[in-house]
């Protein structure tokens, strides 16, 4: 595992993360409580406490390309239990946002990332989620056309899937919000 190579880069990365997080990485004393309670730890390449330390060490490429940041489901168990009150869930949001802004496409967890992107596109074009369109576009983008399709007939029968979506009338306001922050 490659550690610190450039002190200036390390400082820049740490200060970017801390300014977005509104919290200090040095708060974490590596007790591992976050990782012990994490429901998806069994799938991660680095545990949450490792991600915190690696960020502090400036291992930018490793954390931004990790499976962990995309596997985190933001259940907040870690932050709730952290004895130092560190924003563990928050750091995952921050690292994902930095990865997204740097156009880093996750090699191993691309589907999670694509799902978030398609979801927001759906909000942008309708103001609300139109589930059938969301699922269709997600499947086209990830080429997972047949996975979960066996659920569709019964969901239609039960009335769970609507054929048409609705658009809100304030779509121009939604467009402005996206323009301001995207």
């Amino acid at each position: 595992m490659k550690t610190v190579i450039n002190e200036e880069n390390r400082r820049n990365f740490v200060s970017l993360v801390e300014s977005m997080l509104h919290d200090k990485l040095s708060k974490c004393y590596q007790c591992g409580k976050c990782s012990a309670g994490c429901p998806v730890n069994f799938e991660m390449d680095y545990t949450p406490n490792q991600i915190i330390k690696m960020t502090e060490l400036g291992m930018e490429d490793a954390v931004l390309n990790s499976k962990t940041i995309w596997l985190c489901v933001s259940c907040n168990t870690c932050s709730t239990r952290c004895p130092k009150g560190f924003e563990v869930t928050g750091i995952m949001d921050v690292l994902r946002e930095i990865a997204e802004k740097k156009d880093i496409i996750s090699k191993v967890e691309k589907e999670v990332q694509v799902f978030h992107e398609v979801f927001l596109d759906n909000v942008k074009s309708n103001g609300r989620i139109f589930e059938l369109e969301l699922v269709g576009k997600y499947k086209l983008k990830t080429r997972r056309l047949f996975r979960d399709m066996f659920l569709a007939p019964k969901m239609f029968e039960k009335g769970k899937l609507r054929i048409s979506g609705e658009k809100i009338s304030g779509l121009n306001q939604i467009a402005k919000i996206f323009k301001d922050f995207e």
């Binding site: 998806v40 946002e97 799902f115 927001l120 989620i129 990830t142 979960d148 009335g159 301001d180």
Partner: protein, 290 residues
Amino acid sequence: MKLAYYPGCSLKGTSFEYEVSLLKILEALNIEIKEIPDWNCCGASAAHSINHDLSIALPARNLAIAEKEGYESVLAPCAACSNRLKTAHYELETDDILKKKITGSIEMPYSAGMEINNMLEFLIKIAGKDKIKSMVKRPLTGLKVAAYYGCLLVRPPKIMQFDDPENPVSMDELVGLTGAESVNYSYKTECCGAINSLSKPDVVMALTGNVLYDIKKHGADIVVVACPLCHSNLDVRQREIERKYEEKIGLPVLFITELLGLSFGIDPKDLAIEGHMVTADRVLEKIKEL
């Protein structure tokens, strides 16, 4: 007090049963709520996962509209929506720079005076336990119910300010009011996998399987939830989990509003219970015989 209602996208789609049943029981309780006009999606997990400012601005537009319409209280029955509305409210209340940026973008003021309630909070605080109890016409005596809270109703406690984050009891109390017995088990607040249902189905089935098998082991007849995402993962994926782990579960998953409705003597059809993927017929038969 005028009460606003923020349904969110799921209640207009895959979790329509939640909206049908909640409107039915509020009608019975004689409580009037009004949908926030032209509400938009709160951005759910996707927005906060990759774009913080968007995750505040999207719910902020809804809160600002509600405030402009003269509401002081919003019901957000979806746990994820209530979580996002509360988070936006909290951040706007505590961060002036962010507030300026967000209200500038949505072009509406927000004084951060809104009270946001999830479904359980609304039932306990606004409807009140006494009133709910007085409405119970058909006590569900003998029915064993597992109340599943998941994550977003109680966490993070700093922002949700609701119940105990490790051992919540509010939904169990509501179950108790119906005359049913609430079952104690270990996975009350373990995550169901939430938004990764479509992108990481195997992980989601592992998590949801843990919850369902633990509930089964503790002898519950049904599960009740107050979140459309929990409902989807526990109900829609249940057959697949049974096939994957080669062990029958057969647990109907009801919204807490449906359970209350049944105890009020409302016809199951009017509560849209037949909209669930796992049939509740056997339990409904059992209730009829009570």
